[in-house]
Subunit: 234 residues, 4 copies
């Protein structure tokens, strides 16, 4: 459709470098992820509130496991600069993002004790522990590659919904979520992450290791897709 | 029902020691696991063949991840005796069990290439990577506790179905599976494993660590339960 | 000798709780550590400057490995509170302590590039990689126990030299080092660490695991002792 | 000297592939390793028996840590073939090599309890824990590269001493040691290992990662060199 947002044209960064190549080479799974009914329900504002609440709770639990992956990133870094970079990601999650998420959840009627007592869903366990296993089994590049779908996928979803004339803005309870992932701050974070992945990819032999990297990226995409449905099972 | 098999009476081992206490303290989740419709479908012989085939494929993939957990058990052992014991479990899987499983699958019309090319299900990823994460995060006791539901649960299911007058024997395509887990060889393996868990529990402070151990045991039981349903999603 | 500082009397904290018990139960090795000729050379101000410089360089490299151990502490923490606590230790090293150490080294004529290009000594490799291996093999308690000799040993050395009438103050080039480890800020850090170790010890079964904990504590003490001599081989 | 054994000419395998390139690029450190006074003392038969005994004890303790590294190799393998290969190395050490080593030690008057109660030397701790840390931090290639100096270095020493007209044969108490590492069985093991390293190197991007690999190889060579001197400090 003319006028519709297109990743390839409207945000070329998504198609460049190692992340861009990986995204391109599992396009079928990628489209299942970024075009998931969950995403459409957010865009139209028609998703059930209860499902979104369940998603937010699991997303909180995901952030904790993501922080653990960042801790392994510090451990696996081989320069002080890389260690400091990873430690800032880690502090960013523990000191800032989790508090913001708690505040956002409160707006949806979810109090902090409910977050703390929630049980991890199967979808969350599969996704987060897959990442942590790759982190332990492989090196820093394996870890960054399995984290990449989350980083760039949410950015693509955010940018597309933010720009799309079809997205409902007025009265859409999910607009703040769209604004977050389509906003400048998250965009800057993603651009930084994509650059970092390219640097690490070059130094750690991404070219020769590509088949393995594509396999782990594709599995992470598949698990991200399933994670959208955690809303139903949460 | 009079005459029915009862774990507590018919195989007291299941109720003794650390494993017995853990099983008792999450009895609700435990009964969901050992009394799952999958188990009933096996007992009556009415389970769909296709579902059982999917289960067998995922079980093959599970064995591979289980072997990786055994490798971590070798790494975490602090005596030569413990290392050798864990290495024998590892060799047992890689050299014997996997081949037996391949042979068994062939009887069900699943050839080895199909096993090798199969994709890990969400249920398998959740369960196996949870175990591997606990293995890396905790010590040998955490690892053995998360492996315990698989060990004793299959034994309990096997023993019960093997003994139950309600189990269909004649013409039940799943009788060989029941005979395997209800048989003397698997029973001996379980008795050995339960003893080992008690020894390790005593030396590694299971008493004081019980709340954490119960939490990880219960999660593993929940993931085992979900793993039965991998048959449908495989 | 009357009037001399005595750990047991002058800082009872060193003799209390899990850390105190461990220290007491390897007293022979402990005295070799805290009463090492390096310590006496610092107290009298007679240590060769070149040896102290070598020590400072290896201590810089040690901090980097210590930060990696803190990253594993974040990964192994099982509550958000514990994760945040460990992440603050980590940031403290990467953002503050390393910079302070670089500044201190500059006062001794060691420029930052010299620190960055220095080769890890055998003593440093043995000590730091032993800690990291225990961190990976065991759980959070094993990690904290192997880190404890560093924490409380430097505090004991600092407190004793700071208080001792035999320590040379005027013109002693090492007085600033003594003032650092005998000062209030480091003292507070140690008191916090000792409390934390007791809490974790209780929750993780230190009582039952004591023989193993003592063995790893004693090895760490031995490696700390050898680390003083890195000054000569650096 | 004419007629002397030369690695480059007499065993071209040592100069080929990834291992050969790494060996070549740290030739200074390599010569310190393979031409160490310990090696000369073995060749001439003049090394003190007590020093050799200490070496044998530490070598026993090294085998145990080496087995733990092989366990991590199983865990990090991404195919069943690779897992089985690594598990065979592991079983080989635990079931065969350790027993042979115990038998060999007995010939030198060292009984098994003495082996079991021996304390790990600083040199052993530095070397073995460095390998285990690289194993956890990096991927399978990092692990194989840090294990390579041991594999090919002992082969080179064995082959050279075995062939050299200068090596004392008659009445040399160390001839059996030379015969072991210069013998066909160990040679075959090394040839297999060198091939495996090349395969893994190709699949895991050794070309792009070469600077890091060379750094870890060189550190391992340095630690092997120091390990010869464990004989004195044991």
């Amino acid at each position: 459709m003319t006028g519709e947002w297109q990743a390839e044209r409207d945000w070329p960064l998504l198609t460049q470098g190692l992340a861009g190549r990986l995204r391109q080479d599992c396009m079928k799974q990628w489209l299942d992820f970024v075009g998931h009914p969950f995403v459409e329900g957010v865009a139209s504002g028609t998703m059930e509130v209860e499902a979104f609440r369940n998603f937010l709770i699991q997303d909180y639990l995901y952030l904790i496991q993501y922080a653990r992956a960042c801790a392994l990133l510090v451990h696996k870094s081989d320069t002080l600069t890389a260690m400091r970079h990873a430690a800032q990601l880690l502090s960013g999650i523990l000191d800032t993002e989790l508090s913001m998420h708690v505040g956002y959840c409160r707006q949806w009627g979810i109090e902090e004790p409910a977050l703390e007592q929630a049980e991890e869903s199967i979808e969350l366990l599969a996704y987060s522990r897959f990442i942590l296993d790759r982190a332990q089994t492989g090196d820093m590049l394996d870890l960054l590659v399995t984290l990449a779908p989350c980083l760039i996928g949410y950015a693509e979803v955010g940018a597309r919904l933010h720009a799309s004339p079809r997205t409902v803005r007025e009265g859409n309870p999910y607009w703040s979520w769209i604004a977050l992932y389509g906003g400048d701050e998250y965009t800057a974070l993603v651009e930084d992450g994509v650059c970092r992945l390219n640097e690490v990819g070059a130094a750690y032999g991404a070219q020769a290791r590509y088949p393995t990297l594509l396999r782990e990226f594709t599995t992470a995409v598949r698990l991200e897709t399933v994670f959208w449905t955690t809303a139903r099972s949460g």
